[in-house]
Amino acid sequence: MNVAVHADFERRQDDALDAAGLIRLAVLAVGGQGGGVLTNWILSLAEQNGYFVQTTSVPGVAQRTGATIYYIEMLPGSDRQPVLALMPTPGDVDIVVASELMEAGRAVTRGFVTPDRTRLITSTHRMHAVSEKIVPGDGIVNPQPVLDGLEKTARSVIAFDLAAVAERHKAHISASLFGALAGSRLLPFERDAFEATIRSSKRGVEASLAAFHEAFELARGTRREAAPASVPDVPQTRPAAARPKVLAARWQALVADVETLPKPVRDMALAGLQKAVDYQDADYGKLYLETLRRVVKEDTAHGGEARNFDFSRMLAKHLANAMCYDDVIRVADLKTRRQRYERIDDEYGGSDGSVFTVTEYMHPRAEEFASVLPAGLGRRLKDSPLGLRIVGRIFSRGRRVRTDRLSGFLILFFVAGLRRFRRRLLRHHTEEAHWRDWLDRATVQLPRNYDLAVELLRVRRLIKGYGDTHARGHGKYDKVIAGIALVEGRDDAAEWARRLIDAGLQDAQGKTLEGALETVRSFVD
């Protein structure tokens, strides 16, 4: 992250307010996230050190998870009561402390951050806004333009992931923000005074002080920010001795196979291979690689090399996802794995002798039951409304499965064990037919319109989730495919395909997609 550490606070001397030693400080926070505590600490710190302080806030309903601003003015105490402002004014704020990156951005958009005056301290972590979270695709705002904007508008910026600092010490973010403020030396108080303030708060003092110290040193520049705590994807590797030797050898052979693919494809192919093997077995991995290799050949024949094998790489990604569809076996498998139990134990077990129970929230439907039947039987059931109704009566309801207990664990363990028969089951037949059709459809386009072929692969991204969500994904997929068929012959077909896919990822109901399709129809008619 971006760090700028400055010399001790040199105060501007623009007007009588500066001359009087007035400090104007705004805290921008998310309601209920420590802004109030931080403000009270600053208040008590300044008062204890002989300052006259005025704080205001607009809590109201904004305290319920909305953006909230606290405002503090302070100056050395004197006999007369000064007249201070009750709200921050653009161009008139010395220090902005933001508890989250977008709140720092908000301080800029509200004009509180100006290059001649405002020193900005912000945590760089994100608490995503509802508008970002409800997008079915990736709605997360790109933080880089905001970070750049802060650099451009503030006199100086101190930016760290102060939420991570707090979390490391099991403290609240108010403690690390306070530490960064102390370390910035923007307030005319010694470190001891800051610490005394935390001590007098009497609650969670040790944890707060630990977070304070780390943030202090980060802001001071005497410590570097730790790399983002990369939670290892694989908590523990299995002891080498325990590894099944025959299987390990097969794996090595598959990896060697990947090495024979064109270089640009290899990384993605390896990731896809890992997924396929982990999902099913080495044979399945082989099928994946063979399918990929066949396509790479076609790709090469149609100028793939010049295009960095875009088509093959796109396939390597989406084929893996298509082949590793999310069925009940997969879910049961993931939920009964050792790594999962270790991860939960890490998080909730603790060394204090506490134990924990785990309850899964599931809702299998008749369709799920049919999907794990052998293909013939399953198909017959699916075609029989009566059968589905009966099975639905028996199976379709919310189920809470206690997977820390043997009874619950064994049910899922058994379902996970169906993996061995997976390739004979109805769901597998349906899924395989679907991805083969998808692949053919895209490959056919390769000689005609390379970019369109790539987009035709990317359409798969619309299919994800379970139950209704999954069905809706399929619906969108079909619509986009039909939409692409309308523009197929055009030069800008790939561009339109891309737009349709992006529209499909915008909202759940598919309203944006309908709009985009309407546009397409309007010019092909």
């Binding site: 309903v61 290059p115 139950g467």
Partner: protein
Amino acid sequence: MAERSFKKEVQQLKIPAGETFRGEGILAITKALLESGVGYVGGYQGAPISHLMDVLADAEEILGDLGVHFEANASEAAATAMLAASVSYPIRGAVTFKSVVGTNVASDALSNLASAGVKGGALIVLGEDYGEGSSILQERVHAFAMKSQVWLLDPRPNLPSMVKAVKDGFDLSEASSTPVMLELRIRACHVHGAFVASENKRPPVTVKEALANPSRDMSRVVLPPALFHHEQEKVHQRWPAAQKFIRERGLNESFGPKDGRVGLILQGGMYNTVVRALQRLGLADINGDSDVPLYVLNVTYPLVDDEFLDFCADKSAALVVEEGQPAYIEQAFAAVLYKNKGTVQLSGKDYLPPAGEYTGAVVHAGIAGFLRDHQPGLLSDRDRAPNRPETDETVKQLAEIVPQRPPGFCTGCPERPIFAAMKLVEEELGEHQIAGDIGCHLFSTMPPFNIGGSTMGYGLGPASNAAFDGGGDKRAISVLGDGGFWHSGLTASVGNAVFNQSDGVVMIVDNYYSAATGGQDILSSRADNPTKATQHPIEKALAGVGVEWVRTIDRTYDVGKMRDTLREALTTEASGPKVIVASSECMLNRQRRERPIRNQAVKDGKRVVTPKFGVDEDVCTGDHACIRLSGCPSLGLKKLDDPLRDDPIVQIDESCVGCGNCGEVAEAAVLCPSFYQVDRVQNPGRFEAAISRLRSRVIAALQNWRENRRLVKQDLVA
């Protein structure tokens, strides 16, 4: 039990004269009431004066020692009606509520109170919810003052001035036999400051003493012929008396040089913002000593004509800084000038915007503009011709990127599953006409729920659907909180629906408190409140007014049941209003209540179970349907370090309180099996721990058995 406790802070109410009092504006007001010898206090909670009600409730013992009665009134109308005690008896009374919506509710009582006039000082402390952070319609209380002839104080927003305003208010009220409203803006209510305390005073006559010696005065009853005299009295006696008192006591203040050519006229509440503008223009110092004459109206109604004319006497121009619209003060002064052939150029909402909050930037620009035209010599070169900031472009860019963050339901809020269920029913039965009320539940109108299309006032949700009472192909749904139900909803909404044989569905959201205002107890609260009668079930009241179809859900988190009940209400053959009472405790309050108890229990070595929820990373596919149906703040997004996956997955952060809504929604909506609940058991029993160990061992053995027969992720490295 209120969300915030002031038990510690109220001890300051007892400090002896001469000591410095430090705290929030609200607390200072309470102290001022005691120093004024108030005999009874009351009010109705609402931002920004909720804390004043909380302070009064927490100070009940101190009040009792002084012989002061505290009433948590049922509504703003009830609070204002209570001031009737000051009509008949020489006792000072004070009530508080939010404005302008509270004043609307109070207006019936306010008019009658104003007509009768008062013997003892009657003070209404109004929390003015205007501008940033406001959750209500933007209107002025000034109109109420004018129409009912009630005086309006708008003191400078610092603690000494606010404390003085309380005392002046009582004196003014008694000197002019008129109730007085004291208006405090949001930031003034929450401003932290200090003032020097005086002695608390016992009321000269207590309400108990008055009760022992009843008195009545027919001339004060608002009935003919007295009411005609009241109108004459207002104009011929009370108004002049008030103006005389204001002038003689110097309630309005003048600052700055006596001989300036231009001057500023401002509401007391605007003082700090105006002074900051002057400070930045180099025309005032840190203590507020101004180079420009200021006429500060600490009383904004009635205005004192000759005071104003004196201020304008040798000036060429004056600017009225008056927040809100219409510009009543500016208009009134313009009329005074016209009638008195004044020559001063009067400005106001020409240099300043006609509507909206008067923020620092707005007032700065307005005053600078006014001075540029009328006395440019006062300004520096920079202020005479200011440059546009160079960073405008960046600001514009960021404004497009930075997402909005409106307030919403808290983590674990019991209202979330109600609206999740409503969304699920709408997926089955189509969209419905849905009306909201006032309260936390109104957050449902925002994403992700987008439910509810109107709000017509407190307790009026179902009433606002009355046009649809006759029914049709679909039924209208209305939502009413427990606060609104007891405020007026029982009669105005539910009684109305029964009487008119409404076919609609009413969802009563019972979260055990008046939650949106900070968790004050109400009639149906479950808590034992030592001084108030709680635990009166809403169902009994419903039965009492004749509702026949009532369904009670005592755990709103049961999304499936919630959905089924709502579906039943929308499809049943039963006639008359269909009322669902959905009850679960406000999670914010529940956590505040339970967390310390839980922590103590853990320390004491007792068995404590804490639920938390989690999402299986590999099972979550990143379609975010759960967020669209729930929106819990503890559900965040996480980008995976996996090249195969484009979309961020959902993760639950440590703020999770284990309410179970996410799991229940995923289950009821058949979303996905990613959610799991972990119940952490601290200090487990010996047997429990042993069983748990045994289970883990058997499970681990089975896991190893399978793992040795396959390749799993961690083996798969190149």
